[in-house]
Every structure is written in structure tokens, then in C-alpha cells.
């Protein structure tokens, strides 16, 4: 009792502190906490952990500590997806009822859905492509006309302003949509999809609204001349299409087509989302195999052979659709060989050779790419932290995006103005409409190339992380291609005579690969994507070597860009393996405890109270059999989820009602699926005072065989169970099968290997 009053008084004082008190308190805090930690050491050596320390520490803890945002946090906003199938009695009944035929039908409808996903993703890619081409065309015609007009009479600065204003206007529209309607559509979307495939429920990431904002935003930002590409967003778009199509309904539009109802759960949806991501990659780069491998690389823990084959089907359909519709648009119907959204051009067959002596050069280029990529990521990391801390209001974010657009236009203009040879620059900023100021005298002057690389590097780094939807693939490829070509040119200048340095285009390709690999650190899928996009298998080995080196060198400094952003979003992301040197941690130390449990037959009032408790927003509850009238925790007999309980409460499945009205329809699995994925909050469910006294029998609905581990299990072992199975809750039991704790995603994700050994992340509200 004394503890509680003390706690209250501390927190009460915290709000009306005088400066003097504040100072003295600070001193006490630090003394106390350091004392506490000293004590910790002592405690650990004397195994026995006694309880009466906590009151001393509690005040320190209960004071809401505020720290500036950093990467060592885990947000409470993110939850896990239920990838583990709940094999309750309803499920078993349904399975018994289903005939052999209906399983066949399910398999066929999986293929149909994958085909649809590919088709729609291809259509979206086609739409983006055409819209960008059209808008950029209009814009550049306008600017070009203006420049031509003012070149003679003077007033080029007005053209500059016109260009900047046009760019800003496009970007403003896109940024407004993103910042005010759907902030999750910002960026390339690859980190979000990566998290989704990892098993993290990123709020609103696969909604129809997100897709619309994403497509609109990417058109605006590319047409607005930002240093961005439209490839990353394609992956996100494909994933949203997949998540939508596979459900056979749209919750946003409130339309239910009554098809594909079997697939309305996280396990099935995840498979389709990986197909959608693959279809997106395949449409973006014209690389179907690369798409499949991308999905494999990012979400590989849930794979099987048939799924791979279906995903490949979706990718192929997507490439085909894009090619088909683009061929109609370009008035060559039936010509199916256009290479996706990105066009590397083709290497002539006689240029594709490389020799043994060039391989060390390629490796050097890979190392340069790794260093530059790491630099890019570090700069972007600091910038993103600044943005999260200071530029967090939507209107400020829109302003920032507009400023970047204006500066990009200014820089491009200045480079055209002050350099005398015809640069590749214009082709870059306009993406689709090269602006020809001079007359066809295009040589790649080394100085211009160098300047271009430098400027574009900083512009791209500045642009990534703005509140616009846009990807980083194209800018990185461009930066890399520019310095790669520079490298090739310098080589041919240095070595005169005997050695014939074939085509600097080859070095441009290697530079592009190195830079992209250095930034995103993808390996297998990126190799295949580049090989497929250039349509050239000969360079497979050099590209692989370059990417390998870039990854090794880059990882020495900092993680890949997507991982940096995932960390900065405080997402509880589970990597492939538990951090090394964590075998000494046991489940007892990792788990959360005590656990809120329910009895097998529980009072409705208790359930409602627990669910509506906002401070403990639990999602899974172990179901126990309480030994009669004893204080000991009961034995585990099942696990039930919040979503299931909510459906049960909504349908008022109470023991008393079942008795009184026998005619009442029995609850089926379909009722749970209909509520998926947006289960109503507990507040919207009305439970009367009488009903609170009723009882609820959970036996039928709970998962009777949840995964459990003993307390002494080591962290890597827990991890090996948790990550590949895609678990959401893992119950920790003692030797008599009594619940002692619960391991969730956040308990595992908080350990990571930092600079000083094992570190622990903090939980925070974001």
C-alpha cells in the first residue's frame, strides 16, 4: 500500500516541480538509478531476486521518461500478424466438411488469383508509365518553349523560375496527397513490404487508399523532376493489389464479392502479398525471375515449392501484361519485347566480352560502390533523424518536398547553363523527355560527368525520405552509372595503346550495380534483376562479384538503406537469426510476465474489462485450467486471440444463451473471416450489465495446442521456433505446464548486436 501512495506522490510532484526541486530530484534520480544498477550486479551474482527492491525502483520507472527519437526504440504501434493457423474445433469441423473437390477448387482459385495479381500489377505499371510520360512531356514542352523564347531576348532567369515553379507544383500535389491522406504511402514502400513479409502488421499498408495515393504520388514526384524512380513504388503497389484481390472484397469500398472467402486470414494473405511484390518487381524491371527471388530474399521464411511456382506465374503474367499494353500504346500491338519500366538498353553482342584482367577492376568498383553507398546511407540516416525530430508536421513536410523540387530544378538548370557540352543531365531529370538544347554533340566530358555524379548523389540522398512516394533504385543506378562511366573513361585515358578497353558502357553498368548494391545491399535478387534487365547473362559473374564486394564493404560501415529506415521507424523486425553471443539469455529473461490469462469458462465481465484496459493492449491470452481454489497459476490448455474474443462477444456466444435458445445458429469459421481484417474495437461492442454476469466457454474457439517452451530455453532456440513458424505468441511454461510468461515479437526484437556487444532496445509510444 505504501508503495502505491509513494508512486502517486512522485508522479504528482513531477508535474508541478519548482526548478530547485527539479535539480535536486535529478540528482536523486541519478544516484538512485546508479545505485540500482550496482545492486543489479550484486543481485545477479546472488541468484535470489527479492521483491522489496522494486518499490525503490518503481518511482524512477513510472515517471514517463521522454527521449528524443532515435533508432534504438521499438514502437508499440506495430503488431504481429497471425501467421500461425489456429487449429481450433471450428477449423477441424470445417476441414471435415470440405470435400476433396473443394480443395481442388481452392488450389485452382489460388492460380486464378495469382494471374489476376499479375495482370492488375502490369496494368498499374503501364498506367504509371504512360501518365508520367504524358505529364513530363507537357512540362518539358512548356519549359523548352519558354527557354527558346528567352534565349534571344534575355530573361533566362524567368525560365528557371518557371521550371522550378512547375516542378514544385507537381511535387506539392503529390506530397499533399501523401502527407494528409496516407502517410504510409511515403517513400519506396519496400521497407514496409519487407516488414509485412517479416510478419509485422504495418497499419494501413495494404489498403486500397494507400494504393491510390501511392500511384498518384509517384506520378507527381517523377513528373515533378525529383531525383527519384518509379520502380520501388511498383513493388508496394503489387503487394496492395495482391492483398486486395485475394480477399475478394474491399473493406474501404464496402463491397464484398463473396469470392475467395477461404483466403481471408493472415497466412493466406501473406503468400499472395509475396506474389504481388514479385509481380511488382517483375513489372518494374522486366525481370520475372528477379521478382521471385526478391520475394524469396525478403520474406523467405514461409516458402514452399508450389508457392514459388505460383509466384513465378504471377511475375510472368505481370511482365506480359505490361509489355502487351505498352505495345498497344506505342502502336506496335503484339510486340512483347519491351523491357519493363526501366530501360537499360541492350548491349551489342560484340561488346559484351570481358577478360580475366578486368575482374580485379570490377572488384575495385564494387568496393567503391560499397563505400559510396555507405556514405549515402549515413547521410540519409542523419537526415531522417532530423526529419523525424523536427519536420514532423504535414504542412512542413509538404514545404520541404517543394523546396527539394525547386532546388533540383535550379541545379539542373544551372548545370545546363554553365556547361558547354551537351550533358546526359537533361535525360536524367526529365526521365522520359530528353531536352535538347544544343545540337546533337553529345560527348561525356569527364569533368561534367564528375560534377553530375556529385550533384546527383547529394540530391538523391536529400530526396529519399521526403514525404513523397518514390523509389531509390533509379537514382542509385544513375549515380553508379555516371561514376562507372567516369571510371571507364579514365582507364582508357591512362592506358594508351595496347590494351583495348572495350566500351565504357560496361563500366557504367558495373558502377550502377555497385552503387545500388552499396545502398540497398540486396544480393541474389539484385544480380538476377540486373542480368534480366540488361538481357545479358554474360555479365552475370562480374555483376555478382561487384555486388558481393559492395555488400561486404558497405556492411562494414552501416546497414542497408531499407534496414536503416526500418530501424528508424522503430519496427520490431526479426532478422534471420538471433544475435550472436546471446545463448546465455533464457526464455525466463526474455519473456513478459505476469501473463493475463483466462479460464476455460470465463465470466464475460472479466473478458470485457481485460480487453478494454488501454494500458495493456494484449492480443493473445493463454487459456488455463485453474486448479480448484488454489493460488497457483493454472495449467495451460489453449491460447485465444483478442480478435476471436471480440467476434465471440459480438455474437454473444454465452453459455446461458446457448442453453435458453437452442435454435441459435452455431458460430462458424466464416464469422471470424467476415470480421477480418478490421476487427471492431472493444469499445464498439455493447455488453449489458446482465450479460456481464454470463459465462463464456472458450473451449471450441481457442487454439488447443499453442507452441510452448520451457523457461530455460535459450534465446536463439526461442528465435528458431518463433521466426520460421511466424508465431505471434509463444507461451513459456514451467515443468508442470503452468504459464509463467509469454514471448512476443517485441520481446525478441529488442535484442540486437550493437557496437558494444548485445544491446537492448526500449519500447516507446510513437
Amino acid at each position: 500500500m505504501a508503495n502505491i501512495t509513494k508512486k502517486v506522490s512522485w508522479s504528482g510532484r513531477g508535474e508541478e516541480r519548482t526548478p530547485l526541486l527539479n535539480g535536486s530530484e535529478e540528482v536523486r534520480y541519478s544516484r538512485q538509478s546508479s545505485g540500482g544498477s550496482v545492486f543489479h550486479i550484486g543481485r545477479l551474482s546472488t541468484v535470489d531476486l527479492d521483491e522489496d527492491i522494486t518499490p525503490e525502483e518503481d518511482p524512477v520507472r513510472s515517471k514517463p521518461k521522454e527521449i528524443p527519437h532515435n533508432e534504438k526504440l521499438l514502437s508499440l504501434k506495430y503488431e504481429s500478424l497471425d501467421y500461425d493457423n489456429s487449429e481450433n474445433q471450428l477449423f477441424l469441423e470445417e476441414e471435415r466438411r470440405m470435400s476433396h473437390m473443394s480443395f481442388r477448387c481452392l488450389e485452382i482459385s489460388r492460380w486464378v488469383i495469382c494471374g489476376l495479381i499479375g495482370f492488375l500489377t502490369g496494368l498499374i505499371a503501364c498506367f504509371i508509365d504512360i501518365a508520367v510520360e504524358y505529364l513530363a512531356g507537357v512540362k518539358y514542352d512548356l519549359v523548352k518553349e519558354n527557354i527558346e523564347k528567352f534565349t534571344e531576348v534575355g530573361g533566362l532567369s524567368i525560365s528557371l523560375i518557371l521550371w522550378a515553379v512547375l516542378n514544385s507544383a507537381f511535387v506539392m500535389v503529390g506530397a499533399l496527397a501523401v502527407a494528409f491522406f496516407e502517410p504510409v504511402a511515403a517513400g519506396s514502400g519496400i521497407p514496409q513490404i519487407k516488414c509485412y513479409l517479416n510478419g509485422v502488421k504495418v497499419p494501413r499498408v495494404v489498403r486500397l487508399k494507400t494504393l491510390l495515393v501511392k500511384v498518384f504520388g509517384v506520378i507527381c514526384s517523377v513528373a515533378g523532376g525529383l531525383a527519384v524512380g518509379k520502380e520501388g513504388p511498383m513493388i508496394h503497389s503489387g503487394a496492395v493489389v495482391a492483398a486486395g484481390v485475394s480477399q475478394g472484397r474491399s473493406t474501404s469500398l464496402k463491397r464484398d464479392f463473396k469470392i475467395f472467402e477461404y483466403f481471408r486470414r493472415d497466412t493466406e494473405k501473406r503468400d499472395f502479398v509475396s506474389a504481388g511484390a514479385a509481380a511488382g518487381v517483375s513489372a518494374a524491371f522486366g525481370a520475372p525471375v528477379g521478382g521471385v527471388l526478391f520475394s524469396l530474399e525478403e520474406g523467405a521464411s514461409f516458402w514452399n515449392q508450389m508457392l514459388t511456382w505460383r509466384i513465378f506465374f504471377a511475375s510472368m503474367v505481370s511482365t506480359f501484361t505490361l509489355n502487351f499494353f505498352l505495345s498497344i500504346y506505342h502502336k506496335k500491338p503484339g510486340e512483347l519485347s519491351s523491357p519493363g519500366l526501366i530501360n537499360f538498353g541492350r548491349f551489342d553482342m560484340d561488346n559484351v566480352e570481358y577478360s580475366l584482367y578486368e575482374i580485379p577492376l570490377f572488384i575495385i568498383m564494387g568496393a567503391i560502390g560499397g563505400v559510396l553507398g555507405a556514405l549515402f546511407n549515413v547521410l540519409n540516416y542523419w537526415l531522417t533523424i532530423f526529419r523525424i525530430r523536427y519536420v514532423h508536421r504535414p504542412c512542413l513536410q509538404v514545404m520541404e518536398a517543394m523546396l527539394v523540387a525547386a532546388v533540383t530544378a535550379t541545379v539542373s538548370f544551372a548545370m545546363i547553363y554553365f556547361s558547354n557540352d551537351c550533358q546526359p543531365l537533361e535525360t536524367v531529370t526529365s526521365e522520359d523527355y530528353p531536352l535538347q538544347v544544343g545540337f546533337g554533340l553529345c560527348t561525356y566530358n569527364p569533368l561534367t560527368l564528375g560534377l553530375f555524379t556529385l550533384t546527383y548523389f547529394f540530391l538523391a540522398c536529400w530526396t529519399y525520405g521526403l514525404t513523397v512516394s518514390a523509389g531509390v533504385f533509379i537514382p542509385s543506378l544513375l549515380i553508379g552509372a555516371a561514376w562507372g562511366r567516369l571510371f571507364g573513361l579514365l582507364l582508357s585515358l591512362m592506358t594508351t595503346g595496347k590494351l583495348v578497353w572495350a566500351d565504357p558502357g560496361k563500366y557504367a553498368l558495373m558502377g550502377a550495380a555497385a552503387q545500388l548494391g552499396g545502398i540497398v545491399r540486396m544480393t541474389l535478387s539484385l544480380t538476377v534483376i540486373l542480368v534480366e534487365a540488361t538481357g545479358n547473362v554474360t555479365y552475370g559473374l562480374p555483376i555478382m562479384l561487384v555486388l558481393l564486394t559492395a555488400k561486404i564493404v558497405g556492411d562494414y560501415f552501416i546497414e542497408g538503406l531499407y534496414d536503416v529506415h526500418i530501424k528508424l521507424q522503430s519496427v520490431p523486425f526479426l532478422h534471420w537469426e538471433a544475435p550472436a553471443t546471446s545463448h546465455w539469455l533464457t526464455a525466463r529473461e526474455v519473456m513478459s510476465s505476469p501473463v493475463t490469462c483466462f479460464n476455460r469458462v470465463e465470466k464475460v465481465g472479466t473478458i470485457v474489462d481485460v480487453l478494454s484496459n488501454t494500458s495493456t493492449n494484449h492480443n493473445g491470452f493463454p487459456v488455463i485450467i485453474q486448479a480448484a481454489a488454489s493460488e497457483e497459476p493454472g495449467k495451460l490448455c489453449g491460447l485465444i486471440l483478442r480478435s476471436q474474443l471480440i467476434v465471440l462477444l459480438k455474437h454473444k456466444v454465452f453459455v446461458e444463451r446457448a442453453r435458453s435458445r437452442l435454435s441459435q445458429r452455431k458460430l462458424q469459421l466464416k464469422d471470424f473471416r467476415d470480421a477480418y481484417p478490421r476487427f471492431p474495437p472493444i469499445q464498439s461492442i455493447h455488453v449489458s450489465q446482465d450479460e456481464r454476469e454470463c459465462m463464456m466457454d472458450l473451449t471450441e474457439f481457442m487454439n488447443p495446442t499453442p507452441y510452448t517452451v520451457p523457461q530455460e530455453t535459450s534465446l536463439p532456440r526461442v528465435f528458431k521456433l518463433f521466426r520460421p513458424l511466424g508465431l505471434r505468441h509463444l507461451v513459456v511454461v514451467d515443468d508442470e505446464n503452468r504459464v509463467v510468461g509469454l514471448v512476443t515479437r517485441k520481446d525478441l526484437a529488442r535484442y540486437h548486436l550493437g557496437k558494444h556487444g548485445l544491446e537492448e532496445l526500449h519500447l516507446a509510444h510513437t
Partner: protein, 300 residues
């Protein structure tokens, strides 16, 4: 993505000295005539080396009748050779400055006709297609034909010709006359460049506009591109008629203003926007609550 693969770029289109170009363009109309006449003259001359019988030891010139080429086919072959030589001759002689389309379209189209004749197999009672084109792996006729066609396609000559390929389009002829007009204007003011720049400006501008409309309508070919390139080079490099850039100061001013804006933006945000803080939460843990410190203690 041109930066990835676009090799050395367009490259300088020849480096003809300006006055050679000027002289040749000046006599343009005449030269077309001359070319046509010489074409017909060439055609009359028999091209003996092509089908001459080998003298001295070697493979026999003929095989027994049943496997050999018929007379009419040999005649076709001879014609093909003549016209091929004529076309190539014409192309080479109009290589610099590029006049291939306007000088050689007749030679090319007659060459094209004979090839179509052979390959369609319609002439006479015997199919020459089989005997001439399909009997060996060398496929000499086809290769010759395709090499010429490639040149013709990449020169975009069809865009300057009327649909029946029999004459130049009106816009091409207009462009040629306008070009001649500006060139004669240039010639008039050879000595005084400042006057040249003043007086020929109107015609030069007109020429440019005409060129850009042709670009837009896809009515240009290599001849016109090249002529325009040479003229532009004359105008800006030789006569130095380009408008000097006097606007560097305003452009720099506007640019630096633009570049300065983000600095203000970020500074003001840093100073005035309140920093976003995160509230830490202390999760429920069993018995001991591990802080980073004791992990490390235990670790070490």
C-alpha cells in the same frame, strides 16, 4: 538510362570545313541533275567484270544444264549487279556532305525493284529465287541487299520521299530552297560578320523554325539533319552570331536564392519546431528487469 549504355553519344557528324560545304551546297540543284545523268550513263555501260568467265585453271564456269541457272536468271543477275554498283557509287559520292537521299533515291529504288523481281520469282517461267538465292549458304544477293537497306533505313530517307518513293516531298524541297537562300545570304556578307548576323538573321531563324516543324512532323532525313548541322555550325562558330550570354548574373542570383531557401527552412525548423519526444514504456518482466547495464555485466 542513356547514361548506362549510350556509348560515345552522337559524335561529331563529320568535320567538313565550312567552305567546302558551302560550295557544294551552293551548286546543289545542278549536282542533282548531274547525278541523274551520270546514273543513266552508268547503266548503259555493261558491267563485264561481274560475270566474266575465269581464265586459266579454276572451277568450271558452268555446270550441265539441269542444275544451272537459266538464261533469264543470269540476265537478272547482271542487272542486279549493275544497279547495285550504281547505287553504291552514288552513295559513296554523296557521303560528304550527306546528300544520299536526294541523290540516290532513283538508283536505290531501281535496285530495290530488281531485288523484288528476283525474290518474288515472278519474272519469266523459271523461278530465279531458288536458283539465285536459295542454293548456297553464302546468300550473297540477300546480304548485299540487306546491307544497302540498312543504310537506307538508318538514313531515314523514306521520310523525305513521297509515299511512292519517286520524288522528294514538298517540305523537303521547301527546306532546300530556304537553305539555299540563307547560304546565298551568308555568301553576300562574307567579309563583314556583324552585318551578316544582322541581315541573315531572319532567314536563319526561318530555316530553324522550318527544321523544327519537320522534326515534329517526322519529315526529316539525314540530308536535312546534316545540312542543318552544318549551317548551325557556320552560324555560331564561323560567323560567331550567337547571342552572348549576358544573363549570368540574374541566373546566379536566382539560383543562389533558391539554394538558400532550404537552409532557412531547416534552420527555422531546428530552432522553432518542437522536438518530437518519445515516451518510454517499461514492459512487464519476470522478477528482474534487465537494463542494458546488467546485460553487459553478465556478458563480460
Amino acid at each position: 538510362m542513356s547514361a548506362v549504355t549510350g556509348a560515345g553519344g552522337g559524335g561529331a557528324r563529320g568535320s567538313a570545313v565550312w567552305w567546302t560545304a558551302l560550295a557544294l551546297i551552293g551548286g546543289f540543284v545542278l549536282s542533282v541533275r548531274a547525278a541523274e545523268e551520270s546514273d543513266s550513263g552508268d547503266a548503259a555501260r555493261p558491267l563485264s567484270p561481274l560475270l566474266a568467265e575465269p581464265s586459266g585453271p579454276g572451277l568450271p564456269a558452268k555446270f550441265p544444264d539441269d542444275l544451272e541457272v537459266s538464261e533469264s536468271c543470269v540476265e537478272m543477275l547482271r542487272l542486279f549487279g549493275e544497279r547495285y554498283v550504281a547505287a553504291v557509287n552514288c552513295l559513296v559520292s554523296s557521303a560528304r556532305p550527306v546528300r544520299v537521299c536526294q541523290n540516290c533515291y532513283q538508283a536505290y529504288s531501281s535496285f530495290n525493284d530488281i531485288y523484288t523481281n528476283i525474290s518474288s520469282g515472278q519474272s519469266g517461267n523459271v523461278s530465279c529465287q531458288d536458283s539465285l538465292m536459295r542454293s548456297d549458304r553464302l546468300m550473297l544477293l540477300f546480304n548485299l541487299y540487306s546491307s544497302l537497306t540498312d543504310i537506307w533505313t538508318s538514313a531515314l530517307c523514306t521520310q523525305c520521299l513521297t509515299p511512292d518513293q519517286k520524288s522528294l516531298t514538298n517540305s523537303t524541297l521547301d527546306f532546300i530552297s530556304y537553305l539555299n537562300k540563307s547560304l546565298s545570304c551568308f555568301e553576300k556578307y562574307q567579309e563583314n560578320h556583324t552585318e551578316l548576323c544582322m541581315d541573315c538573321k531572319a532567314t536563319y531563324k526561318g530555316l530553324n523554325e522550318m527544321y523544327s516543324t519537320m522534326l515534329k512532323n517526322k519529315g526529316y532525313c539525314i540530308d536535312i539533319e546534316d545540312a542543318m548541322n552544318v549551317t548551325r555550325r557556320l552560324w555560331s562558330k564561323k560567323f560567331g552570331c550567337t547571342v552572348p550570354r549576358e544573363e549570368t548574373v540574374p541566373v546566379i542570383a536566382v539560383s543562389s536564392f533558391m539554394l538558400f531557401l532550404p537552409v532557412i527552412f531547416y534552420l527555422s525548423n531546428f530552432l522553432h519546431s518542437e522536438q518530437k519526444k518519445r515516451k518510454l514504456i517499461h514492459p512487464k518482466r519476470a522478477k528482474s528487469n534487465h537494463s542494458l547495464m546488467n546485460i553487459q555485466d553478465k556478458f563480460s
